[in-house]
């Protein structure tokens, strides 16, 4: 990454997105990855925070609050679209560590990392995009711009 300017770079780290069985996916916060994260010349860390498996925002927020956060705020493996109010609340929690400009909203992972085993279908995925956009509108009204 060193020396490549003019494009935003991100690192996405997740704990598995191949099954809808949450208990077979990995659990734990990002504490043990912090030394590696710190050493990387990356603008944004795109992380999972939509399920309890991911741990607290404080772990990365306190250590790397000067970088951007791609806040995983929807679970790509469920059928129900998230309530925008819940996304707003999670983003506001992130504001303890980040400025509004540093926070991006995204799903925890892709909706279909493996072509033959997509973890979702199109209609729920579309509904989830709408939830994020609605949450972003509320957040922008509250925090300027």
């Amino acid at each position: 990454m060193a020396g490549v300017e003019g494009v935003r770079t991100g690192l996405h780290v997740c704990r598995g997105n191949w099954s809808r069985q949450e208990d077979v996916l990995l659990t734990g916060d990002y504490e043990r990855l912090l030394p590696a994260f710190r050493a990387m010349e990356i603008d944004q860390f795109v992380l999972e925070y939509a399920t309890p498996r991911a741990g607290e925002l404080a772990v990365v927020g306190e250590a790397l609050g000067h970088r951007e956060l791609g806040l995983g705020c929807i679970n790509p493996r469920t059928d129900e679209a998230e309530d925008p109010a819940a996304i707003v609340a999670r983003a506001e929690e992130a504001l303890r560590y980040y400025r509004p400009e540093q926070v991006f909203l995204n799903p925890d992972c892709g909706f279909g990392c493996f072509a033959n085993r997509c973890v979702n279908e199109e209609a729920p995925a579309v509904a989830k995009l709408h939830s994020m956009v609605q949450a972003a509108r509320v957040l922008r009204e509250r925090y300027g711009a």
């Binding site: 770079t9 991100g10 990855l33 279909g112 925090y143």
Partner: protein, 215 residues
Amino acid sequence: MFTVTQVGSWPRSRDLLRALRDKQQGRMTRAEFEAVADEEVRRCVAHQVEAGVDVVVDGEQRRDNFYSFVTDKLDGTRLMSLAEMLDTVPDKAAFEEMLTTLDVPASSIRNPTCTGRLARREPLAVDELRFVRELTDLPVKVSLPGPYLLTRSMWVGAFSRAGYDDKTEMGDDVVRILREELIELRDAGASFVQFDEPVLTEIVMGDEHDRRTFM
């Protein structure tokens, strides 16, 4: 602020899955496949634009999976099923048990195995980017497999030693290829390039750090 985007992949339609299978089995030409995929990307981008997403993705519609697709683009690679790889795993029973325990769809996951010296036949994702940029003026995010994921998954000693002495030597080429790609994507107008490293958590959270798993 609060820029809305995605991580990368979008559900595949039945038509696309059929086309992907036909392409992989040689029943469909690449051009025919790309025409099907073009339509799927159009729909995927339209959904994002209509929803009001700020930075759009192509949904990885052209990819078998988020890292195995590099076999379409790199010399010295071969798309391999986990079943084929199973023959090279020292403890076959333990590997099979791991797949079952973790609910890994072994028949659905294919690996980009290194089988010789790696070289870019064509860019990994510049075509994906160019096509999305024809559809919208919104900024575009492109996802790429990270260097650690690629190095770890591509190295299957029994095959990869045809091109490299060891994994580290191959890894240097992986890093060089990804760096060239990042620069080309930037020059082609990418707003955001994201590297995917799902295996990193497994290294620090899994029980057995050096055991080969399915990625």
